[in-house]
């Protein structure tokens, strides 16, 4: 799903300008994040949750930036090019309702409970709510395994963006890659920049960096939209030349240049059950950590209201570009489904053809990628430190300095594992389909957090049953999909089945098992 922003091969010597623009962007990002690191108070609470000091605007930008991956810019355009106008309703407008619902119903309540009781991770919350230490040991590997594909998508995504964009730039230095910057250097730079600012200031630096990155990728999406529409002679002319079949959602099969066929449109049942995917924000551990950085519950107000509007600003232009690309005047090559992520880049390279713009749009895509990566790295370090190392240890066993050191050590380990895995898996075609599976797992587990917050009768055994049933259903369908391909059960998204399975397991088992103590009920139900 990631694009290929290459310069036109017949444009003479390959310009280094795009790489210089990206270098400037990374330097700016690093500078800003390092500045925020100066605000770091040196305590573990500040490192993990910014001492609950993030205000409304930064909370909105960091939460929005974290939920939008590279898929928001390049995936949306490519998916629209593939299946048509239904992409917006499928992935964007539903999130306006469901994401905001999760922020309001889960985020604010979790923030309040965590602030009152001093929790910094999701697992601490579940351990307290279900009076069970074991639930943490069950959840930890599941959450880590679901986050890792998400991390890989970001790192491999950066290879697939920067590699082709730098093709021919350094023919004498990197002969093996045709003159483009090799993945291992890209990985070191991207992971290194993210690691540097997480090291400097933890959650606070991530929030500052995310704010900057979100502004950059939103602006670059609008810039690409404006420049491409100008090429067509305006918005009306652009949509007039689009393929009619892509302007509706009726499922159909079309021939692509007589070479292969493509299924366009979307089945209503898939469309309806896709609404379970955005529930994933209710269980993302990295988003949980962002919630806890909020200064007050009031900080959530702007996030809840403006999130659907931010989605609108990013997605409508990208969906329109995807529709325009289906037209006769766009001159797109016959791209198979696996390559539709290249649509945005091809449109920019062919229709705008400016090295500066190519650099800026690539920086926008990297911004979307990195604004998710930093939070994920940080949350894994936070979880390992607090849920595994510090759990059940006396409070004075480790000093604040030592606690931060442990977190930083685990973050380095996770970055190294991700870096190595990304190099090993960089050529796997369906790695980006894994994103949907990752979201499906988190989406289905939202049944757990929702019942734990709103149903006093939810028990420890019910929670175990919920997790086990969700994991089993998810694993079964993951296997049926060929370990990560596109898959539906009679047009129904697997996440809907896993969510309902988990919810039923929680309710049924809780009804017949020992209720939580009065003390716990008082602690979690204000």
């Amino acid at each position: 799903m990631i694009s290929i922003l290459a310069q036109a091969p017949d444009a003479g010597p390959v310009s280094l300008t795009p790489l210089i623009v990206i270098g400037c962007y990374l330097a700016l990002l690093l500078g800003l994040a390092m500045f925020s690191g100066k605000l770091f108070r040196g305590t573990s609470k500040d490192y993990f949750v910014a001492s609950h000091s993030i205000g409304p605007f930064m909370l909105l930008m960091s939460v929005f930036g974290t939920t939008m991956t590279a898929f928001a810019l390049v995936g949306s355009t490519g998916k629209t090019f593939q299946i048509g106008v239904g992409t917006y309703g499928l992935m964007a407008s539903s999130s306006g309702l469901i994401h905001a619902a999760c922020f309001f119903l889960i985020g604010i309540r979790v923030w309040a409970i965590a602030k009152r009781h001093g929790y910094v991770t999701q697992i601490q919350f579940f351990r307290g709510r279900f009076e069970s230490s074991g639930i943490g040991y069950l959840l930890f590997p599941i959450l880590v395994l679901l986050v890792i594909p998400y991390l890989l998508i970001g790192v491999i995504g950066s290879y697939r963006v920067i590699g082709p964009m730098t093709a021919g730039m350094f023919p004498n230095v990197f002969e093996a890659t045709g003159g483009s910057v090799p993945p291992w250097i890209i990985g070191i730079v991207i992971c290194g920049v993210v690691l540097a600012y997480i090291f400097a200031g933890g959650s606070r630096a991530a929030a500052w960096a995310n704010t900057f990155q979100t502004i950059v990728f939103m602006a670059m999406g609008v810039l690409a939209f404006t420049l491409i529409s100008k090429h067509f002679g305006g918005l009306e002319a652009a949509i007039k030349q689009a393929n009619g079949g892509h302007l509706i959602r009726t499922p159909d099969e079309i021939s692509i240049a007589g070479k292969f066929t493509r299924e366009i449109g979307i089945h209503p049942l898939t469309f309806a059950t896709y609404m379970f995917i955005p529930l994933s924000v209710g269980m993302f551990p990295h988003l949980f950590q962002h919630w806890l950085t909020a200064k007050s519950a009031k900080s959530f107000k702007l996030t809840v209201i403006a999130h659907p509007l931010c989605i609108l600003i990013v997605w409508v232009p990208c969906v329109l570009i995807g529709l325009w690309a289906t037209g006769t005047e766009a001159g797109m090559p016959p791209l198979p489904d696996a390559k539709v992520g290249a649509v945005l880049s091809i449109m920019i390279a062919k229709l705008v053809a400016s090295p500066v713009i190519i650099g800026m749009v690539t920086a926008g895509i990297l911004a979307a990628i990195m604004s998710s990566l930093d939070s994920q790295f940080l949350c894994l370090g936070t979880m390992f430190t607090n849920d595994i190392v510090l759990h059940n240890k006396p409070k004075d066993k480790y000093s604040d300095k030592k606690t931060i050191l442990i977190a930083r050590g685990f973050i380095i380990a996770i970055v190294l594992v991700t870096f190595i895995l990304s190099l090993l898996l960089q050529n796997v075609q369906n790695v980006f389909d894994l994103a949907i599976w990752s979201f499906s797992g988190f989406g289905a587990l939202t049944a757990l957090v929702f019942t734990s917050l709103y149903w006093k009768g939810a028990t420890k055994h019910g929670a175990y049953a919920c997790i086990i049933v969700v994991a089993s259903i998810w694993m079964f369908f993951f296997w049926k999909s060929g370990w990560g391909g596109e898959y539906t059960v009679g047009h129904v998204m697997p996440v809907a089945i896993a969510f309902m399975g988990g919810l039923i397991a929680m309710i049924v088992v809780s009804l017949f098992t020992k209720k939580p103590s009065e003390e716990t009920i008082k602690k979690f139900f204000p």
Partner: protein
């Protein structure tokens, strides 16, 4: 009562998201937006308005107070 009204509106919004009546409609709105996109762009605006109303009329004021009491105590 208030919570029930909110739940009903939420369910109505979830149903309205399905807009099966637009499935095969290829009309263009405002000269450049296909109906299927214009409807859902409008839907995003309605969602923002819905959440603005929720925040205005159903904000959990007591929850914040409760959270801060815990911090004071610690």
């Amino acid at each position: 009562m208030k919570n029930k009204v909110i739940l009903v509106i939420f369910i109505i919004l979830a149903i309205l998201h399905q807009d099966f009546w637009n499935w095969g409609n290829s009309n263009i709105v405002l000269g450049f937006l296909p109906v299927g996109l214009a409807y859902h762009a409008g839907y995003s605006l309605v969602c923002a308005a819905f959440w603005a109303c929720i925040i205005k009329f159903a904000w959990p004021t007591d929850l914040e107070k409760w959270a801060n009491e815990g911090e004071d105590a610690s």
